[in-house]
């Protein structure tokens, strides 16, 4: 299956790194920092956690890159570290309630229906508001569902790539993506009237 995948474009950089060229790591970082950070941001739901997570992921990657043998492509490997670390963090968070959680749950209790119709200058604000609701919707999903949604709909990975990141079959990607999206849609039910075609019922 792997043979069907295109060649990993990062292989030369990884080789350079393994031969002791430290700048190669910086190049990899520049290429992937936004992907790693945004994946963590959407999965964890807040900036500080995402920043710490991204930092952690790159430190880990740096540590393991010497032993990286190219069994998978570099970026799916990097995504795997990111997603798994995030899922682990979410698991460990379950027992502790962080401030941001309180914050978000508080925000969620505010009725989305209290918005004014999106016209004029308020529109931008509403867009922000809407984004927050969608993020809150993602936050309410279990880690596994978050990861498929983030990888597919935010990072834009193909099914095959997602399967590689998560280490599962294509069929598993399809079905968990379906369930995750249904779940998210249920979460967004409250704001559906507002997001349907720009506020029209």
């Amino acid at each position: 299956m792997r043979n069907n995948l295109p060649v990993d474009q990062d292989t030369p950089l990884i080789r350079r790194f393994q031969e002791g060229d430290g700048s190669a790591f910086e190049e990899l970082f520049i290429t992937y920092q936004s992907k790693v950070f945004n994946t963590a941001y959407r999965m964890l739901g807040n900036y500080e956690d995402a920043r710490d997570m991204a930092q952690d992921v790159f430190i880990r990657a740096h540590k393991s890159l010497r032993r990286f043998r190219g069994d998978s492509r570099f970026y799916t490997w990097l995504y795997r570290i990111t997603v798994n670390s995030c899922i682990n963090k979410l698991k460990s968070q379950k027992t502790t309630v962080s401030f941001s959680d309180c914050d978000e749950s508080w925000e969620r209790t505010k009725s989305p229906l209290s918005w004014s119709p999106n016209r004029g200058p308020i529109k931008r604000l509403e867009e922000k508001e809407l984004q927050r609701h969608v993020q809150n919707g993602i936050n309410s999903l279990p880690g596994r569902y978050r990861s498929v949604i983030v990888l597919r709909d935010i990072q834009g990975l193909r099914y095959q790539e997602i399967a590689e990141v998560l280490g599962c079959s294509l069929e598993a990607v399809r079905s968990s993506l379906y369930r995750a999206r249904q779940e998210l849609r249920r979460e967004l039910k409250g704001i559906m009237p507002l997001i349907m075609n720009g506020g029209k019922k």
Partner: protein, 307 residues
Amino acid sequence: MKCEDVQRLFSVYVDNQLDPKESKLVKEHLSDCPTCQEEWREFNRAVEITRSLPEIEPPSDLFQRVKEGISPFSKTKRLLTRIARPLSFRVPAWGLAAVVLLVALYLVRIIPSPQERIKVMTGGIPSLSTENEGARVTAGKKRTPGKAPSLDVIPHKEELPGKEREEPMRTAGEPEEGDRLAPGQPPRAPLPKADDRDGALSFRSVSRMKQTNMSIAGPVMTREILKMVEPEYPNWAKKREVEGTVEVMCVVLPSGEVGTTVTWLTSEWSELDQSVVQAIGEWRFEPITGEELQAGIVRIAFDFSEE
């Protein structure tokens, strides 16, 4: 095709991952079935809206952070920052406490006269009365003798005009009634004689008596202390060789009087704490113009061994 089956394909359909034949079937069904149409619209919209979430700019110092993490010294460094982190909370906590105090001050509308001063005691201060264990409690670290200028207080003779002196000068260490000491202003010029071991809070030593070391931190530390009252060191405590450090947070009014006082760090001996709170309440700082309420922490270390 049944509605159920069609809806199950939505996810793959939205990703264009259906083969053309299936795709055509779904399309046909949707055009005939209003229920599925509505379902599809919602499903599709939910996916669209997720896809429209913006990309967030990563923090600009991210690489710096990563570099710190991968440098050879990183392990100790990270460990150190982890240890040091709680310390960094001292400042905000301190600021917060000041705010709480100020709010309390306004709420109770303290009239800044000594009689009506309200003292807020916070925290359960245990009154330890166990006779055993050597009855020696040392909260806070001990000051090394000889660190501060060895003689008690350098009397600051030059009276500033227009500043009333509440107390006549008296030599420190002359414990008449145990109460009043009039050390005058501490030397002010080379500020702060900082005792930096607390990192965020640096204390300026204001007086070093035979049994008590007094120092002060916070915004108010730059003001002269016109009147200093040494807290009573109860005889029982001396006898039992009880030591301890008490820190009292106070709000100083523009007039120089002390408004509210709160035990900030307990010696774990309520009587000692109380004696400090009481004494600090009597202090008088240099007045300032304006209406600024300044906060400060006065630290008093009782040390019987100094005698």
